[in-house]
């Protein structure tokens, strides 16, 4: 094999590592960074970029969730309920992905990024947690130990229909754009449904593996999931994710939100500019 393909594999690996690091830190899977890197910087068609990115989303979700198991930060029950909607959305997205043009998908990507940034910024100082370890969590709520404050955080899940709708949309967008969909679910779970940002991010990171699988299987069947490009991306994302997960324990929630919003706006602008060419 030529030096060019070795270089390309190395570049994809590094892109994956960068995307995986940020993704794990923010609990959004990394696809939102990897798709623009593959599509805008490396020139892959957005459908191929989406397929590769979905493979890395599965890897990130699996390794991050495996690393977190036992911490009770992942709300398994809420995740299982929302997965019904999110996988249905990803199935629909996978089936309809070939109906959209490159330009439409890039603009959709830009729009999703901007909306998510706005949702995050609107609630940057809100903390919807009940600091009462014995509090009632309801059927789908949860409690976990928060490193930051050293206390036990308890929460209930409000507005389940909104969460289901957001999950369906997230699954749909996940398949179409190759992202995990966490950028839609995390803000809505956090802002509307009363789930603390850390639990929302952990639960979302857990769900996106199954979500991305629904779309990735369809892309794989169509031949869009190129093994030689997917392999370095998947391995790179895992390395980045491993680093990001450890850094995330020490970063305060407010900083995470502001960082997330800033990156999303930059991604949106880049995608929109490219779609107008």
């Amino acid at each position: 094999m030529s030096a060019v393909s070795f270089a390309l594999a190395a570049i994809i690996f590094v892109s994956g590592a960068a995307a995986g690091g940020l993704g794990a830190l923010l609990g959004i899977g990394g696809g939102v960074f990897l798709v623009p890197l593959l599509n805008l910087a490396l020139g892959f068609p957005i459908r191929t970029a989406a397929a590769i990115s979905l493979a890395t989303v599965i890897a990130t979700s699996s390794s991050v969730s495996a690393g977190r198991s036992g911490e009770q930060l992942i709300n398994l029950r809420l995740g299982m309920v929302l997965e019904v909607a999110t996988v249905a959305g990803s199935l629909l997205g996978g089936l309809t992905a070939h109906l959209f043009s490159e330009m439409v998908l890039q603009r959709l990507f830009a729009a999703v990024s901007v909306l998510s940034a706005a949702a995050v910024l609107a609630r940057v100082n809100r903390r919807n947690v009940v600091r009462d370890p014995s509090g009632d969590t309801g059927m789908l709520g949860g409690r976990f130990h928060e490193h930051e404050s050293g206390g036990v955080v308890t929460y209930r899940v409000k507005r389940l229909p909104a969460a289901l709708l957001a999950s369906f949309a997230a699954g749909n967008v996940s398949s179409l754009l190759g992202i995990g969909g966490g950028i839609i679910k995390v803000p809505i779970l956090n802002a509307w449904c009363g789930v603390p940002v850390r639990a929302a991010a952990a639960t979302s990171a857990f769900m996106i593996g199954v979500t991305a699988t629904g779309g990735a299987i369809i892309y794989y069947g169509r031949g869009d999931l190129v093994p030689l490009a997917a392999a370095p991306a998947v391995l790179g994302v895992q390395l980045g994710g491993w680093v990001g997960l450890r850094a995330g324990h020490h970063a305060p929630a407010r900083t995470l939100k502001i960082l997330l919003a800033t990156v999303l706006v930059v991604v949106a602008v880049l995608m929109f500019v490219r779609s107008t060419r």
């Binding site: 992942i74 249905a88 309801g138 199954v210 699988t213 990735a216 369809i218 169509r222 093994p227």
Partner: protein, 99 residues
């Protein structure tokens, strides 16, 4: 809320095994390809790695179904079965969507 700690650990194990197996295959397949070794083995390893990756989340759904069935938590058996059914539907779509 019922305590899902044991399920959380079981799911974590499945995910770790799946992602490790997949990464080893993908890494070996990639290394063989870049080293210019036998193309068929490299292609096979890459393919196995990708399939293992795609099967990992499905496997943890299966583990959840079994666990909820043991706890006789039928609502969650139904929910997780639905998710598995949706994944199977995407396999069907993939087979028929093949070009």
């Amino acid at each position: 809320m019922t305590d899902d700690r044991s399920l959380e650990l079981a799911v974590g194990r499945v995910l770790r095994i799946g992602i490790t197996a997949s990464s080893i295959c993908l890494g070996a397949g990639l290394a063989l390809t870049l080293a210019g070794a036998d193309g068929r083995l490299a292609t096979l390893l890459l393919k196995i790695g990708l399939v293992a990756l795609l099967a990992t989340p499905a496997a943890r759904v299966v583990v959840s179904i079994i666990d909820y069935a043991r706890e006789r938590d039928w609502l969650f058996v139904l929910l997780t079965l639905t998710v598995l059914g949706e994944l199977l539907a995407s396999v069907v779509a993939a087979v028929y969507g093949r070009r």
